[in-house]
């Protein structure tokens, strides 16, 4: 949508007295075939603040959309409720439609009467219809409290900083510059090149490392938008996404630069195998990197026999992880040795050769054909290297021959893993970005966001993220550059409209929010009057609302998912208390997150899994937003039981916000127990977007359980509570 009609939206609609329009969709027979759409529309017309209600065959079809637009004009609507399918697929469409007609898209509300009603109660026309009415009533109640929202846009400083001058850093910086943005390449050493400087040659291309570096260096030096800072240490980084202020210590005083985004490419070091395989006791026992620099400087002459040992210090010997590249390196260097010293025997003692893909597997085969011998050792019985009267000796148990063998090489090469380096850790601490158990920097999502940090504006690539070969580092460097450029390309940083906001007068400065936030958005700051209050950096906030749900003084709330909006839905979910007796039908309120459980409920619909229509779903962005207060409120207002549901632990859309959900729920259970409320009335279920069946099952079970208990006696809640006073 364009700027002007957004403005129009603000000025004309959205303000003044409430004028709600309700549009009920038949979705062909998908809704109309299983409940009385007309009745729902009529019912809607009678709801408070509703000035217009109609029903269409397909609201999402162009004619349906047109009908909505003209109704907005005709009845001067300032709130729109569509009762049809699911917001997950169609909200963007209807929102856009509203914006076109001058209604701020945040003033649109959805009632899901297809996926979560008509499709799952196909055999119960009446109750499906009543449930649809309830859902519409809830939507209308919430709509009345909606406010227009703007996605805040902050200016971004159009320059980037790349930390680390290795292949990844250089590639990344180059690419950013080539897309037309200033970039600062910061290297702590006196020259560019990183790890590459120690290497001899590089597969899969089998090119000399120097050539590769100089080629890159040249490109870097000839790139006019690229400033290289050598011997530079980062003294401090302040600010946030779009506006970072960096102080560089380049020897003579601090050099302050301003950047919008930061790419971390601090690389890794080779693990020092102190005390392993007699390393350090004899110059003929070296690491792969030392071997390579040795070959580079021609330090070795007529080698007859070389033994390489894999996984030195890795995969459980000292460090836990596999370093990905050491096997390929050993293969590469073995071939190099065969080339340089024809007739040399090379034995590679390994614990499974990790040469993946096409090229590395090929090299492995080439090495075998060249006569390099690969021999498996048992990690429980690793080889032993020693120096006995001046002679190198390697004793080793050939696991697959089940035999002890001994070699007398004139060089022992240890394949050691890559490890996070000091510089990297310092940068990580400064940027407040997490490190994993392996000490490498921790990305936002292992699968889908490998080059982003959870914090916006910060990206990573290369071996600081984990062992990787040059090809992979270069791909990552490009990906990171891409993300670092994007906001600059748009000149602005959009932030979520759905963010947390603090009522500073109510805030008691306890700092819970700062602790709970997965993104470090809230910070405690002293206000002018000296009061310590929480302030949200909206550039960082993702709107999960786990801060609001936990705020002891209700000082924080989240836009578009405010407490009162939730309460409105809770209060209107069930008009009557449930009837006791044989035909008692439990009334259940379900609080779900948007990404997993709500989607799971939709999937139950798409797959037509039937379940009883006793449930009303209230959606939040994250289960972390579900305030215990909501649960009590639900029980107070005619609900006989409450379901809390979110993504499985570990799948949370907001990193780890659902850990808070779990904590709160456990606390809730205790309280409920103290109040003598049957535990069956409160249920927590982790339901993923693919578990439609599980959702349906959960509801069935719950309805059965609660049926046994009978209606919930609210007075008891109040009584118990008052007794404590």
């Amino acid at each position: 949508m364009s700027e002007e009609n957004k403005g129009k939206g603000k000025s004309k609609k959205n303000a003044g007295d409430l004028r709600i329009g309700v549009f009920v969709c038949h979705c062909g027979a998908n809704i109309g075939g299983f409940l009385d759409v007309n009745a729902v529309a009529e019912y809607a017309a009678g709801l408070p603040n509703v000035v217009h209600a109609e029903h269409n065959l397909y609201s999402c079809a162009e004619d349906g959309l047109a009908a909505i637009r003209s109704a907005i004009e005709e009845y001067d609507l300032n709130r729109v409720v569509v009762a049809s399918c699911t917001p997950r697929t169609h909200e963007p469409l209807f929102r856009e439609n509203c914006e076109e007609a001058g209604v701020n898209k945040y003033l649109f509300e959805f009632a899901n009467i297809r996926d979560q009603c008509s499709w799952v109660h196909m055999k119960d026309w009446d109750r499906a219809t009543r449930k649809a009415e309830d859902l519409v009533r809830m939507a209308v109640a919430r709509a009345a409290l909606l406010e227009p929202q703007e996605e805040i846009e902050l200016d971004i400083y159009p320059a980037a900083m790349v930390i680390g001058g290795g292949v990844s850093g250089m590639t990344s910086a180059l690419s950013i510059a080539r897309q037309g943005f200033d970039v600062h390449l910061v290297e702590k050493e006196g020259e560019l090149g990183g790890m590459l400087r120690y290497l001899y040659n590089i597969f899969p291309e089998n090119r000399r490392a120097e050539e590769v570096i100089s080629e890159l260096r040249e490109r870097v030096e000839n790139e006019d938008r690229l400033t290289v800072h050598l011997n530079a240490r980062i003294d401090s980084i302040d600010g946030y996404y779009g506006n970072f202020e960096v102080a560089l210590d380049e020897g003579e005083g601090l050099n302050r630069i301003k950047v919008g985004t930061v790419v971390v490419a601090t690389g890794a070091d080779e693990f020092e195998p102190e005390g392993l395989y007699a390393y350090g006791t004899d110059p003929r026992i070296v690491t792969q990197r030392q071997l390579e620099s040795g070959l580079k400087e021609g330090r070795f002459s007529d080698l007859k026999e070389v033994v390489m040992i894999q996984c030195v210090g890795s995969r459980g010997q000292v460090l836990s992880y596999c370093s990905r590249v050491c096997c390929a390196t050993a293969v590469k260097n073995a071939l190099a040795l065969k080339e340089l010293f024809p007739g040399v025997r090379v034995e590679v003692l390994h614990n499974d050769i990790q040469v993946y893909g096409q090229r590395y597997e090929e090299n492995y085969r080439r090495a075998r054909e060249a006569g390099v011998r690969f021999k498996k050792y048992d990690p429980e019985r690793r080889p032993e290297a020693s120096v006995e009267d001046g002679e190198l000796k390697v004793r080793f148990h050939h696991q697959l021959m089940d035999r002890d063998l001994e070699y007398h090489p004139d060089l022992v090469v240890l394949s050691t893993p890559l490890v996070m380096n000091e510089g990297g850790m310092e940068v990580a601490r400064m940027l407040r970005v997490p490190m994993g158990g392996d000490k490498f920097m921790f990305e936002a999502h292992v699968k889908l966001r490998p080059v982003d940090f959870a914090t916006d504006g910060l990206y990573l690539c290369g071996t600081c993220h984990g062992p990787a070969d040059i090809t992979e580092s270069v791909s990552q460097a490009n990906a990171a550059a891409s993300h670092a450029v994007n906001p600059m390309a748009r000149h602005i940083v959009e932030t979520e409209a759905i963010t947390a906001s603090v009522n500073e007068d109510a805030c008691i400065g306890c700092g819970f929010c700062a602790w709970a936030c997965p993104y470090g958005a809230p910070k405690l700051e002293a206000r002018e009057d000296g009061k310590l209050v929480s302030r949200i950096n909206e550039a960082l906030c993702k709107g999960c609302g786990t801060c609001a749900a936990g705020c002891p003084s209700y000082a924080i709330t989240t836009r578009h998912f405010r407490n009162d909006q939730a309460m409105a839905m809770i209060h209107t979910a069930f008009p009557e208390p449930s009837k006791p007796g044989p035909d008692f039908e439990p009334q259940i309120i379900a609080f779900t997150c948007n990404w997993c459980s709500y989607a799971g409920a939709d999937l139950a619909g798409v797959s037509r899994f039937q379940y009883p229509p006793n449930i009303r779903i209230i959606r939040f962005m994250c289960s972390g937003r579900i305030d215990p207060m909501f649960v009590f409120e639900a029980l107070r207002s005619n609900a006989d039981a409450v379901l809390v549901s979110g993504c499985h632990i570990g799948d949370c859309h907001y990193i780890d916000a659902n850990y808070r959900t779990r904590e709160r729920f456990e606390a809730l259970e205790e309280v409920i127990a103290e109040l003598d409320v049957e535990p069956e009335r409160l249920r927590l279920a982790w339901i993923s977007a693919s578990e439609g069946q599980k959702f349906a099952e959960t509801i069935k079970e719950m309805v059965e359980d609660v049926k046994k208990l009978g209606p919930f006696d609210k007075s008891r809640l109040v009584y118990k509570a008052s007794e404590r006073v």
Binding site: T171, Q179, P204, D438, V446, A477, A479, E494, A599
Partner: protein
Amino acid sequence: MAEGKAKVLHEKEVMVVGGGVCGIQAALDLADKGFQVRMVEREPTIGGRMAILDKVFPTNDCSICILAPKMIMCYNHPNIDVMTYAEVKKVTGKAGDFKVTALKKPRYIEEDLCTGCGDCIEACVLAGEFPNKWDAGIGRRGAVYMPFLQAVPRIAVVDEESCLTLRKEKCKMPCLRACQRKAMNFKQKPAEVTLDNIGAIIVATGLEDYDPSEITEYGYGRYTNVITAMEYERLINASGPTGGHVHRFNDDQRPRRMGFIQCVGARDLRMGNPYCCSVCCMYATKDAMLAREHYPDIESYIFYTDLRAFGKGFDEYIRRGREEYGITYIRAKPGEVTEDPDTKNLFIWYEDLEEGGIKSMEVEFLVLSTAFVPFHGVENLAKTLGVELDEYGFFRAEDDLLNPLDSTRPGILVAGACQAPMDVTDSVEQGGGAANRAAEIIAQAGKKTVKKARKA
């Protein structure tokens, strides 16, 4: 990234061929840079392979749960024009200025009318007659169908080969009546679409499963309870054809002992796939873990040659598999598999490499971790694009080292599993990387033209 925000800021457009996770990543990144993206997907839905996986290692995230939002975001993004069920037919021009002709295959359903309600699917007289390839052939579909529940766009498609009407055979065409939107249209013809403003092309066409029936010693296709990993993936998937229930095909019993054989068709010179597929050791472990989560008493045995767990957190994942999920890893490549004609159980014959001697392990279900091969028809696409393939049929990079994402033709980039078998993470990295290269190439090309203009 708040979708719907980005505006088109560049005059040149970028084409992304293939709508898998790699292509989606590339498209989203480019759209966020302010490029108009043209995505061409040969299937009726985007999402690719990841969309039909159950979980992804090493986090065991639910695959579709994390992908679906991206699929939807990609499809709804104002800067991304997704053309499903279409193929690239012709490419002319040069880096910075390509002209591409794509052929849109007829769905026989008007995309703008279909609401994905599925009425036609239920109405089809051939409903359930054909194996659905998105369910690895286990689930079944009719002549008109939706690839899978979370397909994007949610628009049905009529399969020419299956549909009676299109085969010019007698059919009462109940689908026509079932569809109240009157979206069915059997008169649809293939439509050519020409895009003449393409600055760069990203190829992310992915790969295909290897059919192990030629490896006769393992009895795939001959023995009832020998399946491929992809088939297993659909069986264990909650939204798959069996709702996540793994059962044997002869007696519908769920297995208590499962075997996995690694490198079936991979690292194998006989089949011309000498390469390692990079992900099989991991997905086999995942598969065995999932089995254990569904059925706590199930035993899994994984037969491998080299156990390759080289990625971030992979080795630890294997350790968890061994220690927490009781998976038994056996370093041996079985020689052959025999079947008990009565129980349909399988005997895996292998050499105990350490103690020596041949053992046979009886399992109730055998999963073959099959290789990945270049997708069918890759040669034609390569010819159309004018780029080279490597000896195995994967797209060749111009410079494996410093330009791993550039194909052998300037301006055309190759990313993801069409370049080499790789996991989701690597595909996403390459997708993002390729998007970046595309932007860079267009910027550079722009510069040149400006320079030229100055000179003139």
